[in-house]
Assembly symmetry: C2
Homo-oligomer: 340 residues x 2
DNA sequence: TTAATTTTGCTTGACGTACCTCAACTCTTA
DNA sequence: TAAGAGTTGAGGTACGTCAAGCAAAATTAA
């Protein structure tokens, strides 16, 4: 296989290398008819510009910044360590990845950090958004400055962010419900929902999806008022224990946010047997799955999400195409037997 | 961020650029003590060799060959079209991907094709293995010639293939069983297994995993003698209809191979209602999932598998590390609500 | 000590694209 | 017909590593 070079294209189109280059990089100063001739030649010869040579010649480093919550939840801990791994991995492709930790759930902290960084924020930003107008404004400002923005895990759909990297949380809630619907054998009973934070869009959406399916398809199941766990295991455990004590006919449980350890501790001591679906794949949930204390865990792969965000930011800065197939973040269902 | 170049390392280590290059590429002619000095300097400066410049200077094209079955099953059709897509996508990274179609389930055809290609087979091969000594021998010969080999979807574990790209099929079978176990509410009944080919290792393994769980955990369920569907929808439909007619107390069904369309057509006309788990995500299974005719589909992502095989072959030829996280092929569980 | 061998330095030319300058050319349009 | 604007060509430098050959230095063996 002899590679087709830009020079070959130039020869075929009867123009100079400089002109091919101008066409290739959308620089002005080329007549429309010539552009077409060059493009035809590229198609004819099946020209693929050499990524390696291009980035080298462009003498350019990509600089991307991740803005992630500093909280101590297992999930964001995982995200942060994945960013560290990715930072090392992408260095050899001239991609510099920085991570800035911001206090969780605090829109002002996010905006302050963006302001502080200024131009140092680089070519693109991946941020875990929170529901707030000033965050949306900050995103729009970044875009206006030409900085690319993707939201990660938690979206800000009405902002001008270019992509959302994460799962469809409404669908995740629906999955939880439709699994529980199939798992629960009892003709009727109560279903408990352990929520995280009401200000996190992803939690709210999951709950929405869950309720949709429950209401439409499970008239025999009664969804109890949700438990606000604040993503703290101890809080979850205490509140859940109280609810379980009050309701003898619990047949299912969905835990959609953090603090899953609290869920596991609470149900372990409960004499009732019911179906359980949670989120987060940690040492605790793994053990609980294997022991049969919980039935399924719904997860998004942080490693994939981080890589995906970087690839997408790079494609956005290069103006190249995104491989949709590769960037699809899955709602992963783990049962005892397909644990990774 | 100013990049650390090999020249910087040379300066820091007090050697010449040529020596750094020799260390970098494991060429001989460098004293052990000097090697260590250079490596220390690289660590100190956090040197990352520039992938782009390296592949460019190496003036090297990677050439990989996929050997895949030519059969008309939905799954391998998908694999083949993913290879086509990947071929285009990887061209810009100087990776030439070729696809050779071989008659399915025919070890001699595979070996004949390998012989025919000779050195044209390139730097690495990804093949869908079949259970046979001559195939294992062919793989070992390729390895002896320095050609890298990964098996795809169906493994040949006792050969000298370097990696297997695919799912743990025993685990997939176990997942199917443990889902059915949870889905089936009846206190007892029959379970039907629709198999594909007995010579495909992945099919055999899935069945094994399924039986393991059924036997150990579901004494109330009776697994009927399996139906050999030969991956042909018509055959599957006819045989399954016969079995369903003979057994009024069927409560669950697992279809572990091709011909899923036949399964769907057969159960559609059956008055009984039972839980169904299948493989393959096609237009048919999607519709059936949405309609509630089947409950879950277990899938491996062909797009991911093809990309993964190429990345792994490239890492093997470069002698670089493999990102295990990225190459983990998942056993994906799809229910109605997390369809992609 | 010398001779043989190994290790290191130095230099130079790829590799394919990006990006720049300057000169020359081709059209308009007045 | 000439000024002006828009196009194109030619050629150069840069990017960071690889590869190769030869010269020089350092080390080891005799």
């Amino acid at each position: 296989m002899t590679r087709v070079t830009a020079q070959d294209v130039a020869d075929a189109a009867g123009v100079s290398l400089a002109t091919v280059d101008r066409v290739l990089n959308n620089r002005k100063g080329v007549r429309e008819s010539t552009v077409e001739r060059v493009i035809r030649a590229m198609e004819l010869l099946n020209f693929e510009r050499d990524q390696a040579a291009a980035t080298l010649a462009r003498r350019r480093d990509y600089r991307f910044t991740f803005l992630v919550p500093s909280g101590e939840t297992a999930f964001f801990g995982g995200i942060r360590s994945e960013i560290e791994i990715a930072r090392k991995h992408f260095a050899k492709d001239r991609i510099e990845v920085n991570m800035i930790k911001v206090p969780p759930l605090d829109p002002h902290a996010i905006v302050a950090e963006i302001d502080r960084l200024g131009a140092d924020i680089g070519d693109g930003v991946a941020m875990v958004a929170v529901e707030s107008q000033i965050v949306r404004d900050a995103i729009n400002d970044l875009r206006a400055r030409g900085v690319h923005v993707v939201t990660l895990i938690s979206d800000a759909p009405t902002s001008s962010r270019e992509r959302f990297v994460g799962i469809d949380n409404v669908a995740a809630g629906r999955v939880a419900a439709s699994l529980l619907k199939r798992f629960i054998h009892a003709p009727e009973g109560d279903v408990v929902v352990v929520a995280g934070s009401g200000t996190l869009r992803d939690h709210v959406e999951r709950r929405m999806g869950f309720e949709q399916v429950m209401r439409a398809e499970c008239p025999h199941l009664n969804v109890l008022p949700w438990i606000e766990g604040e993503e703290l295991a101890d809080v979850v455990e205490a509140k859940l224990k109280a609810v379980l004590a009050d309701h003898p006919n619990v047949v299912g449980l969905y835990s959609l946010g953090g603090g899953t350890r609290g869920v596991i501790d609470a149900i372990k001591t409960d004499p009732k047997k019911f179906s359980v679906v949670t989120t987060e794949l940690s040492a605790h949930t793994r053990t609980a799955l294997i022991r049969g204390e919980i039935d399924a865990v719904l997860v998004q792969d942080p490693s994939h999400e981080v890589r995906s965000a970087i690839r997408i930011l790079k494609a956005l800065t290069d103006g190249t195409q995104i491989n949709e197939n590769q960037e699809r973040i899955r709602i992963e269902i783990f049962v005892r037997d397909n644990l990774p």
